[in-house]
Amino acid sequence: MENGLDPAPPLLEVRGISKSFGAVRALQEVDFTLRAGEIHALLGENGAGKSTLIKVVTGVFPRDAGIVRLGGEEVAPRSAKAALQVGIATVYQEVNLLPNLSVAQNLFLDRQPMRFGIVREGEMRRRAKTLLADFGLDIDVAAALGNYSVAIQHVTAIARAVDLSARVLILDEPTASLDRHEVEILFGIMRQLAKRGIGIVFVSHFLDQVYEISDRITVLRNGRLVGERETASLPRLDLIRMMLGRELAETTSVRASEGEHGAREVCASFENYGKAGYVAPFNLELRRGEVVGLAGLLGSGRTETARLVFGAERADGGQARVEGAPVRLQSPRDGVRHGFGYCPEERKTDGIVAELSVRENIVLALQAKRGLHRPLSRREQDEIAKRYVKMLDIRPPDPERPVGLLSGGNQQKVLLARWLATSPRLLVLDEPTRGIDVGAHAEIIRLIRELCDDGLALLVISSELDEIVTYSDRVVVLRDRAHVEELAGEAVDVGNILAAIAADSVTVALEAHT
């Protein structure tokens, strides 16, 4: 292509990147193009591959296949430091600076102005001051960075990156811990940098912000590229559809039981339940033999709702009732005491104990519920383990095998068994099918239905909309940490859920403009 008619090559070109972790294919043939001077949003649900893509491009993870070109030249940084040297800088959500050093030292660490082997502190502070002035900051640069707000720390990190002659700036969820005013300041800086010809990759799950700041959007889903669009010509509904990957008309509800849920017994209810800055107050009734799905985008408050219901997080208002009697849920212990079970999303870190055997993992919650002074005998443990291994078809059917050696689907079943052994009245499942191979998906879904038919109340979170409509009797739709709609019966379908997520965000966006 040396005919001279081509426009200048894009600033950053990523072609055919693949990356696997063991058997899990985190990225498959992903392309990504960043032009100089544009703000490019990289979107996708949890597990879509955004972070992996960033880490592969910046050399934190080695890639399995594909190439990265910067300004037309192929680059292959082997570490974040090497990426920085070629001009690709990343600022993560948790600021990667040193809070114990002064702002000036943070900006100039390892490249301080020197004279006779001594750091010219005055000169360094003066330069830091000038540099930050470009970003609209006038602060005492001699003070420790940790004394300042997260927003200022972010700006300092960006200033350092830009001053290190970054041409590509990757901002990974930079606005997650900023308030509205701080976000405005950050956006101002981003626009200014884009004008100077720097290409900015903006990762965020706040769609309003994406529409406000970005020129272009690339969406990933399940490690694959869904598409690249101009922000201005991409309706919100289409974007959400790209992220959740469902066609509106396609899916129909295949729920097993369409019982008149009004007649079912309420097992737990929450009135005006919520916590400031966490989830807006909501009303929720959970009934025996019924599955309630929680749908919404990442960060919409699904997990937060689950944690409040279980007692892992304390509500600051509202009333919870179990079987009609008012209760206080102050800690997970309270949740367990009232017969609640919770399978968290991060199975590996929050759920299973990988080194312990299947048997030990299964009896964990039951033993905790009984207390230390009433230990389960080995025979009882064996019986319980055997029963659930059989009932849930855990493979291999060996209760003494360390759980870490099982596949994801079977680990999920062990977690389920742990809570089922406590004979709960309510089970909360956060993304029960995440990271499980497709065959096991169907099995987990079948299990959810069966448990429900046995009279258990279930609250299930999932990003997979067609799954959620398959097993849910009712679906609560969340957005921006609030419950915005509850769909029941015939109304539970993918189209209605998408419409609820999107419609509401449009109104909010309109409100923000007036």
Partner: protein, 326 residues
């Protein structure tokens, strides 16, 4: 708050304590007593300067006491038995101890081991090696020793600022300059803040680790030479437990045990506080010298509690922001 408040408190404790001592024993407030205090604690001040670098960088060095012990034995044997000129012996032991520290630093970095374990092994190794050389005390009679011991600057009021005290003061000042004014010093703080972040920001973490432990062992070697001047002998059981006195001085001086904050000046004040308690007990005459340890223990507790309080205070606004996970 670059480590300042704790240092101010240390300084206040020193001044207040000294004033109390002076009220009870007016003779304490003389250059003679102060001169002796500096001489008696010269080796401690030197080794504590090195320890300050190690602790600020987020590590610990338990081997320093043993390195001092080994140094005294090595120097005594080299001069008295092997007939090595003193200066050559000094250079040899400094090269040896610096190499020892560099090796510990390299092991800590390459194998990603906790400094506590590696330097604990170093402590046994150095102590064992000194027993291997000699189990008995070896007196040093070289003329240079009496020359150095006799050398002193006269201070007004009849006090003597001895050679070893001068060496210590020079090292403390040099250490403070190195820590606060150079890139090396900034990197020490960076390592103590977070090794991963420091590495991401371009600090050569491995090289720094090697250099920091090398510096600590080198200063322990110098402290050992100073100790041999002080006692005019080499003994394999000397300076047992000095690593703990050193850590105590560093912490009382306001350096955070978890790293990232502290100062050499604070450490110097911490050494003086320990010396002051010792002096008080000597003046009193009825108290057992073990009261030094008890007083040091109480002070240590007080300072750790104080630091925890300050840290908690500094973290509070941040804690409010956390907890907003999706």
């Amino acid at each position: 708050m670059k480590g300042l408040p704790p240092v101010v408190i240390t300084a206040f404790v020193l001044v207040a304590g000294f004033a109390l001592c002076a009220v009870q024993f007016p003779n304490i407030a003389s250059t003679r007593v102060v001169g002796n205090l500096l001489t008696d604690n010269a080796f401690l001040g030197i080794v504590a300067t090195g320890m300050t670098f190690v602790i600020i960088s987020g590590g610990i060095d338990l081997s320093v006491g043993s390195v001092i012990g080994f140094t005294t034995v090595f120097v005594a044997l080299a001069i008295e038995r092997w007939g090595v000129p003193p200066l050559v012996a000094f250079v040899a032991i400094l090269v040896l101890s610096a190499g020892f520290g560099a090796a510990m630093g390299a092991i800590i970095h390459v194998f990603d081991l906790p400094p506590f374990i590696v330097t604990l092994a170093g402590m046994f190794l150095a102590r064992g090696a000194s027993f291997l050389l000699s189990t008995e005390s070896v007196p040093i009679t070289a003329p240079v020793y009496s020359t150095v011991s006799d050398f002193a600057l006269r201070m007004p009021g009849g006090g003597r600022l001895t050679a070893v005290a001068i060496i210590m003061i020079v090292i403390v000042i040099g250490g403070a300059l190195l820590l606060h004014l150079t890139r090396f010093g900034a990197n020490v703080y960076a390592l103590g803040g977070s090794r991963t972040t420091a590495s991401l920001m371009g600090v050569a973490v491995g090289k720094m680790t090697v250099k920091i432990y090398m510096l600590s062992s080198l200063l322990a070697g110098i402290a050992g030479i100073v100790f041999s001047f002080y006692t005019s002998a080499g003994y394999s059981l000397s300076a047992v437990g000095v690593e703990l006195d050193t850590i105590a001085a560093v912490v009382i001086g306001g350096t955070l045990l978890t790293g990232g904050q502290g100062s050499v000046i604070g450490t110097f004040l911490g050494v003086l506080i320990q010396g002051m308690i010792q002096t008080y007990i000597n003046f009193d005459g009825t108290l057992s010298s073990w009261w030094t340890k008890i007083a040091t223990g109480v002070l240590l507790f007080a300072f750790i509690a104080l630091q925890q309080g300050l840290v908690a205070l500094a973290r509070r606004p941040v804690a409010k922001r956390a907890g907003a996970a999706s």
